[in-house]
Structures are given as structure tokens and as C-alpha cells.
Subunit: 319 residues, 2 copies
């Protein structure tokens, strides 16, 4: 699994960081998925190998502009460059109203169908082509959601011991069973291929939070997760100085949750523009990292625009 960060700033873009967007795909796959779509996401995409025509689904966490104002332009550009395949959008219901209003007032005409799924109605996991998608409601003033991606289609291998124990003789039949075909033996008995195909490994799971002041709301979604991507808009010192967290999380709150939950990998993003890149500045992005490390002993990253992360089969995340 791969994660491309396309925007890592909170609220407003900076010269170094665009507003929120994250691309997810299976390693080197053409098909991909987009979580959030702040203004300028389509311009960021032009600087990656990702194609709008191979975008399988867009997931929006909430309706604030820094997470959705890039949606009309991205859909418009996909139309102008010839997309015809339907596109799934999973988002709070207000995003549907937003898109309908844009279409009504600006004459936006799409060349493809939108399969819109209101996340409020997502009771069962949604089977996307590469992932099973689940969602959890968060706390942020407007309806905000976190999404879990559990990979589908994990490689399987023949259960040789099982086949031998069941008396299925080694030969061409084994090849057909390995391809997922149910076969009938000479003695008339049916062999169900699923019974003799073992998953070679655990399906990986990635959780991406929306804006949220209560990380523990992701507790259930994070069970069995390999990676949590979550906003860390401020550190505690800045929240104390501002007198409000604006319904966002501090680095400490997210890191403490990830430590408590035993998550192996944590990626922080969505940093207030007040944090400067220069390590000597006040406040510096290093303050966020320092605060997170004080609470979390796992594999920690602070995302930058155009960072590419790879999650290995055994759950190790590397940049």
C-alpha cells in the first residue's frame, strides 16, 4: 500500500504545504483513491504519476473548504480530459448539496456519473475495488468522519496439507483450485477452492481521520490497524496561547491515543500554518514532532507535501 500526501496544511495553503488531500493506492497500481480534496488538489496531482481517469473513489471527511473546495475543479478537469467511468464519492450529505449547488450555479457539466454515498448511511463496509471501506463519526463542529481502508484480494496459496488429507491427488486439478475454481473429482465429490486456499498474510488496514478533537472516537476503527493518519493541527503550547483548539487535536492527544491503542505507525498531518519549517523558528514544526514523541514510542512521521509512504506486507511503514 502506498500513501501520497498531496496537502498537509490546515485552513490555508502555504508556499510549502497545500490544503488537505491524500492519495492511496496498492503498490504501483494505476487505480487510486483520494481522501479529501482541498483547493489546488488537481494541480498537486499534475506533479504525481496519478491519473484522474484511474481515480476509483473520493472520500471526503467533512465540508470545510480546506477539505473540499478542490472538488468542483477536479471533477470538471476529469470531464474535460474525457473521463466516462462512473466515480464513487463517499462524503457527508452536505457535500452532495455543495456539488449540486455548484452544478446549478456554474453550469458544471460532468461527462461521467457520480455514485454518491452519504457516509451517514454507511452501515456495512463498502466494497471498493481494492479496499473494504468503513467510517466512524468524529467530533469537529460540523459532521466529520474517519475512514478505514482494509485491503481486499490478499494473495492466497494452496493448502497442500489439506488437499492431501482430503485425498485430492497432486496434478492439474491443483492448478485449477489455485485459480479459485471449484472442481469435481472422479469420485463425484465437489472440492470448493475457498476451502483449500490460505491467505498468505493478514490484510493490511489504514485509518485516515478527518478533523477531530477527540482521537478516541477512532478507537473501534483503529482496532487491527497498521497505520493511523491523523491531524495534529497544534501542539499544547499554541493551544494554551490561543485559548482554543478550534475543535482540532494536539500532537500530544493523537500520539497518546496511538500509544494507548498500540498502533505501530502514526503519520501526523494538517499542521497550522503558524508552524514554520525552520527548526530555529518559534513555533517550529519540530515542536509538533517533539510533543508527539513524548507520548508515542512507535514509528512516527510528520507528513510533507509529496511524501510517498509505503506500507510493507508485514506492516512496516517507510517514507
Amino acid at each position: 500500500m502506498e500513501l501520497f500526501f498531496l496537502g498537509t496544511s490546515a485552513g490555508v495553503p502555504t508556499r510549502a504545504r497545500n490544503v488537505a488531500a491524500l492519495a492511496i493506492r496498492k503498490r504501483n497500481a494505476k487505480a487510486w483513491y483520494l481522501v479529501d480534496c482541498g483547493e489546488g488538489t488537481q494541480q498537486q496531482i499534475l506533479r504525481t504519476p496519478l491519473s484522474l481517469n484511474r481515480l476509483e473513489a473520493i472520500l471526503i471527511t467533512h465540508v470545510h473548504g480546506d477539505h473540499c473546495y478542490g472538488l468542483p475543479g477536479l471533477l470538471s478537469s476529469a470531464s474535460m480530459t474525457g473521463r466516462e467511468r462512473p466515480l464513487t464519492i463517499v462524503a457527508p450529505a452536505r457535500i452532495r448539496a455543495f456539488l449540486e449547488a455548484i452544478q446549478a450555479t456554474t453550469g458544471l457539466h460532468l461527462t461521467f456519473a457520480i455514485d454518491f454515498i452519504a457516509v451517514e448511511d454507511l452501515a456495512e463496509p463498502l466494497a471498493l475495488p481494492d479496499f473494504a471501506l468503513e467510517a466512524a463519526a468524529l467530533s469537529h463542529g460540523v459532521a466529520s468522519y474517519g475512514y478505514a481502508f482494509t485491503e481486499r484480494g490478499v494473495e492466497r496459496k494452496l493448502d497442500i496439507a489439506g488437499l492431501e488429507a482430503a485425498g485430492v491427488t497432486r496434478g492439474p486439478l491443483w492448478g485449477r483450485i489455485a485459480k479459485g475454481e471449484d472442481v469435481t473429482l472422479d469420485n463425484g465429490s465437489l472440492v470448493i477452492s475457498d476451502d483449500f486456499l490460505l491467505s498468505q498474510r493478514r490484510a493490511r488496514k489504514l485509518v485516515v481521520g478527518g478533523d477531530n478533537d477527540t482521537p478516541a472516537l477512532l478507537d473501534e476503527l483503529c482496532t487491527g490497524a497498521d497505520v493511523l493518519v491523523h491531524e495534529a493541527t497544534y501542539d499544547r503550547a499554541v493551544v494554551e496561547r490561543l485559548g482554543t483548539d478550534n475543535q482540532h487535536s494536539t500532537a500530544a492527544a493523537v500520539a497518546s491515543f496511538a500509544q494507548h491503542k498500540g498502533l505501530a505507525n502514526l503519520v501526523l498531518t494538517h499542521f497550522s500554518p503558524r508552524y514554520q519549517q525552520d527548526p530555529g523558528a518559534t513555533p517550529s514544526i519540530d515542536d509538533i514532532e517533539y510533543e508527539a514523541r513524548s507520548q508515542y514510542r512507535g514509528n512516527l512521521f510528520l507528513a510533507n507535501d509529496f511524501d510517498l509512504y509505503r506500507l510493507s506486507h508485514d506492516g512496516v511503514l517507510t517514507r
Copy 2:
């Protein structure tokens, strides 16, 4: 007068060109004006000395997304960075509906008032702080407008011969008249300063067209203009191959109009992404230039993103 091109692509952004936006200001002034605001305009602004807090007015030519989808994010960012001064927006009435729909569906809250003026209702020239603004309706399927900026506050000097002929004796009174003050002479007669202040030069005039398939609709607006900025989305060869001009202008049509009108400076912009930067490519951006030069013998430019043009007091445009 200065022109900063912030976006010069038609329809969709490319790696080299963002979608439409043009900043205008008096030379080295802090106050500035924005014509059109395609997605990503606020990100382009971050790469210039322009400040959202000193933006005096936004003029939108028409409601197509590549000319207005950057508006919500720009207004949101101006709010988040503390703007309180009201902002004038002159635009087709549908832009008001677009902004109201965005505010209603995404909870966009602005910290400043919008003084919205529907361009359809603009009967008299509008006095902006630095320019008198006029508009003309164009032809593009949706309501599209061109804008003329005529500079205000041109430097004036005392009409010494006139003062002497009127019997106003040289002295401190001249200084007061020079500052625009009406003064009463010892003999009781009133001297109106405007009668004795001569403009040192002609007010410069800049015309910026919106998307438009009929350049001649700008004829009246272009009378006395120093510069015309107009879209040249295609050259004729591409229009013939496409079988349609999509209600845009060819380089030949705009250049021919500018030649006929005797305009000294012509800047073409809003190029279809099919035109490549590489001179050897087909079609190349050079095809646009070659076609325009075949029709126009004035001072011709093809705009690039981040080009800065200066118009001198005597009407010479340089990049």
C-alpha cells in the same frame, strides 16, 4: 501600471500554466485588483508580493469554473488571515448565487463584508480607488464580460499661464491651488483649483476581455486603450481540426481586431492545454504567436504564469 499574470491556461491547469487570474496594480502599489480567480489563484498569489489584505476588488468575467472556482478559497483565506476591510466584487449575477450557495452548504463565514455589484447593472463607470471601471458584454454562451481600467488620479500641474492671465499673483495661493484647494482672492473672487490644474499626461487605459468568440464586441471599450488582454484559446488550424471553437477566439481573430483598432499593445492568454511549450511540438504555443503576428503589427506578447508587465506613462508595455 503593472499586470501580473497568475494563470494563463484555458479550462484545465497544466504543470506550466494555472487557470485564469490576472492581478493589476499601479506601479509598486500595495493596493491591487484581481480579474478572474480560477482554482489555485490563492496559491499563485503566495508566490508574489501581493497581499490578500490589500486586494481592493475582484472582477469576474464569467461563471465558468476555470475563472471562478478559486473564489471561495481565496475569500476563506482572507478571512482566516484577518481581513476586516470590505471587498468589492464585480461579476455576473450568477457569481453571487454561486457564492451564496457555497456559504450555505459549506458554512463559509467571512470576517469582512462583500460589496457585490452585478456587472449587468453597471451603467456608469465605477470609481474604484485607482481606476474607473467600465464593462462590456461579450459572446460566450454564458454571460461573459470585458473590463476597462482607466487610471484615476493622474498627476496634474499648475496652469501658470492661465493663473497669470487670470491675474492670480504668484505666491502662497499658488501652492494651495496646486494642492487642489479652491481659494478666494483679496478682491473676493473665487478661484476653482480644477480650472488651473492641467493633467500632465493622458490617463492610461487597459482592457481585459473574458472568454469571447467575437472580439469586435470590445470595440467601444477599446477606444483609447493602451493595452488589450484577450484570450486566444486556439489557432485556426486547431479549430478546423476540432470542428468547433467552443465559443472562444482564435489568435487570428483577436490579432486582426487589435490591428484594425490600432491598439499599441496586445497580450494573448488563456491557451488551450493542447499547445505545448516545446517549439518543436505540434501544436506548439509558437503556432499561436505566429498566427497572431501574421495579423498584428503592434507590440505583441503571449502571457506566461508569473509574467510581470509594466505599462509606462507614455503607453509602452514591457515584460
